[in-house]
């Protein structure tokens, strides 16, 4: 085990897979010579050379389209879209082409590719460089959607995404890049579609994703220490496939669910989770399902405003207390 930052775990995960499989190639804007605008891909050009680690022009359609064409003809490309907000300029390739072509062709081809992107707020970048768009991807049949919260999961889930035979949208939360954690030195692969239970609890289940996970953990500690409320915390990790088994089991035990979502309110992933819980284990519930989300607004830039908009540990605590008390 070594302590790595979330950003260094990105290059560690990519390097692990590129060493293993010569068909893994990597392309994106500023990812090679510059090592990425978030410095998450430094060293890869030196180790794997310019045939496998390729800088591209600012051409998101070409980047994602090239990854698709390469994936359908034998390679396993990793494409980077620098900020997830930029998916809006290549969404045809993602949502119409990559996601649907396997189905439309009756399974004649597969698309083993990963599109990584820096997602989410907390960096004071304003409304076009801070969005949480994982729910855009979740709404499209044919895309797998992964969002790690720790350096170890960055490496392990990225490795699994590269090995997966289907297209994976891999959302790195940009405010987590500097965070540190223990990461296995050896080959590390975490299966997709498994939520992780970070903390057991008896009163309420808090389900969170990416940057909301540490906030949910902090909230759970405050709830235990200050209010005697026992909260389970689940890191959802993968929206598609969604580990409903683990989540339903815990919500069934605690009788309450609070989701913590960075995305704006409408059609966030927590709404889907709430509907599954309501349909399938309604009679096990002891209270309403509560969603803590960013309000349904574009994200503001100023630190005071952005902090007020994003779910905080304090808001989670308040939501849980209202539900449990």
């Amino acid at each position: 085990m070594a302590e790595l930052t979330y950003r260094d775990a990105v290059s560690a995960g990519i390097a692990q897979e590129m060493r293993r499989d010569h068909n893994v190639v990597f392309l994106g804007e500023d990812i090679a010579a510059a090592g990425g605008v978030f410095k998450a891909t430094t060293g890869l050009l030196d180790e794997f050379g310019p045939d496998r680690v390729k800088d591209t022009p600012i051409s998101e359609q070409a980047i994602v389209g090239a990854a698709m064409g390469a994936a359908m003809t034998g390679l396993r490309p990793i494409a980077e879209i620098m900020f997830s907000d930029f998916f809006a300029v290549c969404w045809d390739l993602v949502a119409n082409q990559i996601a649907k072509t396997r189905y439309m062709t009756d399974g004649q081809c597969s698309f083993p590719l990963v599109i990584r992107s820096a997602n989410g707020g907390g960096s004071r970048f304003g409304a076009q460089h801070s969005q949480s768009v994982e729910n855009w991807a979740m709404a499209i049949p044919g895309l797998k959607v992964v969002a790690p919260s720790t350096p170890a999961d960055v490496k392990g889930l990225l490795a699994a995404s590269v090995r997966d035979p289907d297209p994976v949208m891999f959302f790195e939360q940009k405010s987590l890049y500097a965070t540190k954690g223990e990461v296995p030195d050896d080959e590390h692969v975490e299966p997709l579609g498994k939520a992780r239970v970070l903390r057991d609890g008896g009163d309420v289940t808090i389900a969170a994703l990416a940057a909301m996970v540490p906030r949910a953990e902090r909230a759970a500690k405050m709830l235990a220490q200050d209010y005697g409320i026992s909260a389970a915390v689940i890191d959802v990790r993968s929206l598609v496939p969604l580990d409903t088994t683990t989540i339903l089991e815990h919500v069934g035990k605690t009788g309450r669910l609070v989701t913590v979502e960075e995305n704006p309110r409408l059609c966030g992933w927590g709404a889907e989770l709430a509907s599954i819980v309501a349909e399938e284990i309604f009679w096990d519930l002891d209270g309403p399902i509560v969603r803590v989300t960013t309000p349904h607004i574009p994200l503001p830039s100023a630190d005071a405003l952005e902090d007020a908009a994003l779910p905080s540990a304090e808001r989670i605590v308040a939501a849980v207390r209202q539900l449990v008390d």
Binding site: A62, G65, L93, Q97, T105, D106, P165
Partner: protein, 345 residues
Amino acid sequence: MEEGFLARTFPSTSGNAPTPIDDDLRLKLYRMMLRARHMEQRAYDLFMQNLVKGTSHLALGQEAVSTGFAAAMRSDDYTFCTYRGHNHTLLRGASMAGILGELMGRECGLMRGKGGSMHLTSVKHGAMGSYAIVGAHLPIATGAAWSAQYRGTQQAAVCFFGDGTTNIGAFHEALNFAVIWKLPVVFVCENNMYMEYTPISDVTAVENPAADRAAAYGLEPVLIDGNDVELVFETASQVLTRAREGGGPSLIEAKTYRHGGHSRADPGKYRPDDEVAAWLERDPLPRYRQRLGKLGIDEAALSKIEAEVEAEVDEATETARNSPAADTSIVEIDVWADGGSAWRN
């Protein structure tokens, strides 16, 4: 070569002579064009009988482009085409009954009814898909060419699109990308002069929508008569050789004309009668038949091909008509590579 057409040849860097056009090849080209023509005429008849549902976009009149390229391509090359892609898919080797069956929503369809007219695909024949969002497949073809370059297979990708595509961003992104990485991809603009219902000249800054943009990407402008099947074949052979030898991408503008409207819903009445008449005079099929006659090819050989193609189309039609409706048990399969569509456990 008609007046007003530019032409440019690409000498092979290895000095290989281009494939000579002999009589066998000529008969093959004639048969290929005829198969495409008769299949699409039959598709039209099937619409009129309400046996084809949804929309469909015919390429009647444009057969020389798909034929010339398909005949010049290697069997492991990649074709990427548009929703007007019945012929491109057929001529790479896909089954005619599979194509007609797909149009009719039958079990025997190329994709068993999951794709329809606008998405014909036969990966085992190198027909890597028909793409229904204008421009999308240019970056995808570029990626397939990148893969071929990386794997060192000397395969090439050929990407067909219409004149309207030259005004969408993906066209420009893909061209620039293919040039900077020197990829083995051939971009073929089939300029049929109309962007759906609108003359391309009304909505385009330059006269020749593809050829006049070539210089912006450091490419030679190539404008050819897309109704001359041998010229298309020769051009295709040259640019494919260039691609295989590492010479990078090419952009070809082939001028042609669709005999019908944009889609099933469009009678194409916006086109002046004299323009339509002039282009019907240049219909690639009678034109080539006449040329073959002048070259001394036996009339009996041509008639034999015509009879065989008619029989093939009849048989494919019967196969498709007799095939049951698409099987609903496949609705929820093959979203994922494991064959399923599960999004939760």
